[in-house]
């Protein structure tokens, strides 16, 4: 009856410290998908609406908008938002593929996560070149 004397609940960590765990790249891509989505909601949508309005109302406001966008801080914000949009879109496409049972096995899923992460940064680099 020795087996019954053992505690049923094995000692396990009480909590998981997300910062102490080395996250697989798919997890990083996933949390960045969420973070970029939150950023697009908080900053992206108002910035988009403001930009469309300013650029459409009159040639003067269009010029003012272009002048604002020449400021380094505005360019930095635009670049971060561009990355957020690109990463969110690519990670979303990866989700759609996984939904369709494409690339579900672990090596493929790891490869696609790396692909999304790197392609997102490369396309953002293109935007940066275009901005500066």
């Amino acid at each position: 009856m020795a087996a019954l004397d053992r505690p049923v609940v094995k000692p396990r960590p009480v909590y998981l410290n997300l910062l102490a765990i080395r996250q697989p790249l798919a997890a990083v891509v996933s949390i960045l998908h969420r973070a970029s989505g939150a950023l697009l909601f908080l900053v992206g949508i108002p910035a988009l609406l403001w930009s469309v309005e300013a650029s459409l109302v009159s040639p003067e406001t269009f010029g003012q908008w272009k002048a604002v966008m020449r400021h380094p801080v505005a360019k930095l914000v635009a670049l971060v938002l561009a990355w957020a949009y690109i990463h969110h879109l690519l990670a979303g496409l990866r989700h759609l593929a996984l939904d369709l049972h494409v690339g579900l096995d672990l090596p493929s899923a790891r490869r696609s996560a790396a692909f999304v992460f790197v392609l997102g940064l490369l396309l953002t680099l293109l935007v940066a070149v275009r901005l500066w």
């Binding site: 989505g37 949508i45 309005e53 459409l56 109302v57 040639p59 879109l89 759609l96």
Partner: protein, 118 residues
């Protein structure tokens, strides 16, 4: 207590939101490709090209479709975030109501931009 027969309960909005999140995503993807194509075709956009684009009814409609998809997509996404991190009911509800209000204002802003008085 676990009874012998348990039905999976719930409000059943999960699958609907899951589907709508994907449909709105595809709508936004197509619009993004459209804009990208227009920008690349024109080699950048000046004021004249930009406003002429918005003069077209079809483009306005496509833009409106994109914005509606964006608001719905943002709602499902942000609501998921609140459900994961906001554990106190009244805090969660308050934030969700605030998010809905903001999104409705954005939708109104979009309507005013596209079809409002110049």
């Amino acid at each position: 207590m676990v009874t012998s027969v348990q039905r999976a309960g719930g409000a059943h909005y999960g699958w609907r939101d899951w589907l709508s999140q994907r449909i709105t995503a595809v709508i936004m993807l197509l619009y993004t490709l459209l804009i990208l194509g227009v920008v690349l075709w024109n080699g950048g956009l000046d004021y004249t090209t930009w406003t002429r684009l918005f003069a077209g009814g079809a483009f306005r409609l496509a833009t409106f479709l994109f914005m509606v998809a964006l608001m719905l997509h943002a709602w499902v996404g942000v609501r998921n975030i609140t459900m994961d991190y906001l554990k106190v009911a009244w805090v969660r509800l308050s934030v969700q109501v605030a998010v809905i209000c903001v999104l409705v204002v954005y939708a109104g802003w979009t309507l005013a931009l596209l079809w409002g008085a110049p």
